[in-house]
Structures are given as C-alpha cells and as structure tokens.
C-alpha cells in the first residue's frame, strides 16, 4: 500500500514523504512505547520493518530515531498529534514518511487492518 493511499484512508496530513522512493507498506504495528517496538523486532527477519508503518500516539524525536534505527520507513501519529519541526526534519533526513491523523490509535489499526495491512509477523512480506 502506498503512503498516499494510507493518508486517504486515515484522512491524514502528510508531513514528510521521501521523494524518489516508492515505499510499499505491507504491515503495521502500534505502540506508544519505543522500547516495546525494539523488543518486538527480535523474532522477525530483518527485512520486515522495511515494509512496516508504525502507528503511535507518542510524538517526539525518539520515535523517528527508533524507526530509523530499525529501518521502519513510515510513521503515523494518531489523535491529532502534529509533528514538531524537529521531528519532520529528522524524518526527512532519514527518508521516513510522516503522517498525522485525528483518529484514535485503535481506529487507525482497524482501518489499516481491514484494508489489508498485516500484523508484523510471518505473514508480512
């Protein structure tokens, strides 16, 4: 699924969209805890985060740092969290797409799951 499609489904604003890169999102994961995101990665092949979108209600530079560190290419902030300039800059620097939606985390998960995004596990390619 492309970033534009996701933005449309979630009625989200796009704050960062790396040019020249056709990111294809196949799976998603939601957490407000960055340590948790790092914990989940242990059982997964290294490629999986590369097609994952991180759904989070937490908005700060560590979300981008965490994503950059494990190669997550897209982040959506929920509950109307507008990314700070620092977050946007950091995301652009690391070629990470950043979206923001007024929807709640649970709703975002539901919409994207229904639209065909897998959970981050073996099904995700």
């Amino acid at each position: 699924m492309k970033i534009d499609e996701i933005a449309e489904l979630l009625n989200a604003t796009i704050y960062s969209q790396p040019d020249g890169q056709d990111i294809d999102i196949n799976c998603g994961g939601a957490s407000d805890l960055m340590s948790d995101v790092l914990t989940y990665m242990s059982d997964l092949p290294p490629d999986i985060p590369k097609s994952m979108i991180l759904i989070t209600g937490l908005m700060n530079p560590q979300v981008i740092r965490t994503s950059a560190l494990i190669d997550i290419p897209a982040v959506v902030f929920t509950r109307g969290k507008v990314p700070s300039q620092q977050v946007i800059d950091k995301a652009k620097e690391n070629d990470i797409a950043v979206l923001s939606t007024g929807l709640k985390t649970y709703t975002v998960c539901g919409i994207l799951y229904k639209a065909g995004l897998h959970s981050i596990n073996g099904e995700c390619k």
Binding site: D32, L58, N60, Q62, T66, A68, I70
Partner: protein, 315 residues
C-alpha cells in the same frame, strides 16, 4: 619506613583507585554512626562502648557536627580519677583526626599510615558525622574488592579477548574503531550516538541483522545514560574479526540492584522518560536479548556496559 618512601608508595596506590569498583569511603564505612552529645556523661559513653563493642565514640553538637571524640583511654582515666559521672565535654579530645566521605581509598591509606589511629569519624562537607571507618573496615573492603577485580578480569578475558587491548587504551583508535561522547541532559539528543554507530557499521558492510542488533542495544544503553547516568558518558565501538564490541560508560549513581534492573518491567525512570517512550523497564532486557555477550559493572559512581554482537555464522 621514612616519610619519603610512604609518599612514593602512596603515589603508586593512587593509580589503583580507578580499579576499585567502590573506591570511596562512603562505600564501606559503618553507618549510621554511633554518637553522643557533649552533655552526656562518661558513664553513658562507657555503657555505649560496652554494649556495641566499640573503642571510640564521636561527640557531636545538636546539628550532628563533629566536636570531639571519646576513646577507651579517656574512659580508663576517668575511671581511675573517679570522674566517670562527669559530662563528656570535660574529657573529650577536641582535635579529632577525621576523614571526608568522598575521600578515595588511597587517601584513607595515607591517613592510616601517618596518623596511626584505629578508628576515624567520617564527615560530610558540613562536618556532620556520617559514618565511622576502622582499619578493619578498610581491610575487609580491599579484600572484597580484590575478589571482584579478579572475577571481572577473568570474565572479561574470556569474553573480550580479541579486543581487550582496545578496551584498555584510548590511543589505539583505527579505522575500525568508533568513539562518541554522550554529553547531554537533552532527551531530544538521546540516540544520536547509536545512529552514528549504525552508519559506521553500514559503511563497513556489516550484515543487516548484526547492524540492527548492535544499534538497538547501543540505543537502549545510550538512552539509559541520558535517563540515569546524569547525561554524561562515552560510547566506544570496535569491529574486530567481524565481531562488534561496544562499551558504554556513564558517571551516574550506578544501578543499585542489577538483578532487579534486569527484570522486565522494573524501572526507576521518571515521567520525562516515559513521555519519550522509554522507562518501561525493558532497556537492559532488550540489550540482553540482542547481544551475544554482556557485562554490566555498576558502582556508586558509574555504570560500564560491555556488549558483543557476533555474526550468526560464527556462533
């Protein structure tokens, strides 16, 4: 032994201070101290000494500030002169040799050698008595430390043999060495060193799985330094024979109980940490999960974490 050779010896001892994991008086003194005020009688002092099997009592004012000392000798003299019911003030020594709580072991050694007393009150910077140190305390402490140092060195040798010369020297930096100073209380910067180290590994064509395991571990360790280690520390990384070695040092208050800290969900982090998506008690556990070898050394003035990531094919 004359003074000159004492001084030479002490200079030699000083260099060992950094080896000691708990090298400050406050790490091994007896506390809380048993004290009396000067209004108490010599008989009170005698009873207190007998009951606690001690040979000296620091005398303090109402604020706990050191004003004198009563020794066994003072008690014997008071008994002989039948002055045992006198207030302590009349008999106490007022010029008391004492130690400061932040003194290093080598300084304590120097005091013991030059003054020769058996026990010393330990005071803080306001001269309040915070503990007592005896020659026995010091000997017991050094003996325990000897055991720790031996165990640590033995274990390090087993785990880190290929790079141990790197870890002990600042000068041997080469194109496969990485170094970063963590110097921030600004949470926004937490993780910068790990991001740079990831790039460092990628440039050296380290496989993606090892890059990820190493950078996640380093990230957690770096966040810990910013959260708990007073924001100052350093990162060193080495790529030796395809193995990734990382050392993270901070100068914070240390980890009180490492076993407890390793438990999932245990944390001493504050709300600020939680706002950042950390401080949930997963950090050390993540490091353990992603590294192949891990050593944590904690003292009351810092933590050192040594981590090794080994490629799958080499295991």
């Amino acid at each position: 032994m004359n003074m000159n050779s004492y001084e030479k010896k002490l200079l030699k001892y000083k260099q060992y201070d950094s080896l000691l994991i708990n090298g400050r008086i406050s790490d091994f003194m007896s506390k809380p101290p048993i004290t009396l005020t000067r209004e108490a009688t010599m008989a009170d002092a005698k009873a207190l000494m007998r009951d606690n099997k001690i040979s000296g009592i620091p005398i303090v004012d109402v604020d706990g500030v050191l004003v004198g000392l009563i020794s066994l000798e003072n008690i014997i003299i008071a008994l002989e002169k039948q002055q045992i019911n006198d207030p302590i003030e009349k008999h106490m020594v007022t010029d008391v040799s004492h130690l400061m709580e932040n003194m290093a072991v080598s300084t304590v050694m120097s005091y013991l050698m030059t003054h020769g007393y058996h026990r010393y009150p330990v005071v803080d910077d306001k001269k309040k008595v915070v503990g007592i140190v005896t020659q026995g305390d010091l000997m017991l402490h050094l003996y325990t430390q000897l055991g720790n140092i031996y165990m640590h060195n033995k274990r390090r040798e087993e785990l880190l043999m290929p790079v141990i010369h790197h870890l002990d020297s600042d000068t041997k930096m080469d194109e496969n060495s990485f170094s970063y100073d963590i110097d921030t209380r600004d949470m926004d910067q937490a993780g910068k060193g790990s991001t740079l180290f990831k790039k460092f590994l990628q440039e050296r064509e380290v496989p993606v799985d090892e890059v990820r395991r190493a950078s996640i571990s380093l990230y957690e360790a770096e966040v810990n330094v910013v959260l708990h280690g007073s924001g100052k520390g350093e990162i060193k990384g080495y790529l030796v024979n395809d193995q990734i070695f990382m050392v993270v040092v901070d100068h914070g208050p240390g980890i009180e109980d490492i076993d407890l800290a390793m438990e999932i969900g245990y944390t001493t982090a504050d709300d600020e940490a939680r706002k950042r998506g950390f401080g949930a008690g997963l950090g050390l556990n993540n490091i353990k999960q992603y590294t192949d070898k891990l050593i944590i050394i904690s003292s009351s003035h810092g933590v050192k974490i040594e981590m090794v990531v080994i490629p799958e094919r080499k295991k």
